[in-house]
Assembly symmetry: C2
Homo-oligomer: 222 residues x 2
């Protein structure tokens, strides 16, 4: 029984990493589509979200089946419950990636972001890709040290997010209202994407270091 359970947990872990890898491809395409106004790439990112949703649902069903059949307790139980939460966050990251791609598609053939913010969004996009890549690695290897790197990259995303507001609200902003709307939404999507990654990284970190309570508190007060 115990051995079967370990195999099932390994399968859950494998699938979480698989979904995270798809999210990584999605944010890579979405941010590139966004920065280069590439509508074909935007379509790819949008279409790929169905697969992320599907795998996320299947993972939830597997986790519930494990709860029913294996009746785990203590830390094992928390691992399975965490898998359900991580799956929900990954699914949400896929949605946010899709939203970024949709902004690119919506404004095409125009560029979605005015010139003076393109550098900022290129940086934010690159950081989101790095964060998703680190997260996939962390879910594959349970290397909890990666959590600090993800948190650090998220701080940079937060700073860029604030700088977008500074730019848009600054005296030299010459954008149309549509530019202001796009910049506001896009910045929020990039920032939320990184937030979810941090929340997942914390779950994995505290799960493998045993500090569950703190993870709970931090996740909720985020």
């Amino acid at each position: 029984m115990r051995e079967v359970f370990q195999q099932e947990l390994a399968e859950v872990q494998r699938r979480l990493a698989e979904i995270s890898a798809l999210v990584t491809v999605s944010i890579e395409k979405a941010t590139r589509a966004f920065n280069e106004s590439d509508v074909a790439l935007a379509e790819e990112a949008i279409t790929a979200d169905e697969q992320i949703d599907k795998l996320s649902i299947e993972l939830d069903e597997l986790a519930i089946t494990i709860l029913a059949r294996q009746q785990p307790v203590a830390r094992d139980l928390r691992i399975v419950v965490s898998a359900l939460r991580i799956s929900a966050s990954l699914e949400r990251m896929g949605d946010l990636s899709t939203h970024i791609a949709q902004l690119a598609r919506y404004r095409f053939p125009d560029k979605v972001i005015p010139k003076n913010l393109r550098g900022t969004f290129a940086e934010m996009g690159a950081l989101d890709v790095v964060i998703a890549t680190m997260l996939t690695e962390m879910l594959s290897t349970q290397d909890v040290k990666l959590a600090d790197i993800i948190r650090n990259e998220d701080d940079k995303v937060d700073a860029l997010h604030l700088s977008v507001f500074d730019a848009v609200l600054g005296a030299t902003w010459k954008g149309e209202a549509s530019d202001t709307v796009d910049a506001t939404l896009a910045s929020r999507y990039h920032e939320r994407f990184a937030d979810h990654a941090v929340s997942i990284a914390k779950k994995v970190q505290y799960l493998y270091t045993g500090e569950w309570k703190q993870e709970e508190v931090e996740a909720h007060t985020h």
Copy 2:
């Protein structure tokens, strides 16, 4: 054992309704603070979020304890797992309510929204309050018919959300960039708040009508 389990489930249900009631008070205060630029009320909404977070964490712990001790299967198991998900959505609704209150506080003593959009936001706010009220009722009574009402009110919120973009992107928009940013974010927060309520209502509805799979699919493709 079975009787204890039923009592524990009833306790979970009571607590979900309790958190939802706090979220309802929070969105009522936040939207009023937002529409009337009432900074004291905004503070109240922001402070109250701690209690929502605390109760949400405690509920999660109770649900995990029930899973460990009662080892529920089949529908009982799905009810407990759903409670974890509903708790996460309620916690998120509290966050969004806080974000709305923060916008009001941030712009004080200025009004956060320009005159021509005040009617729209008054309507959106009122709808979010109705939706939260219905949700609390649904979580207290398991009256699944309320799900349709919540969905219907959410459609109205979505329409108002789109109308905000129409206004902001329209030829007659005279707002500053800061007005555009505020309107964009506020509208998004109001809309997401209602979305989470719909997602919870669907979970309760399908849980009590047995159509779990469909709920899963809809929640994920939302």
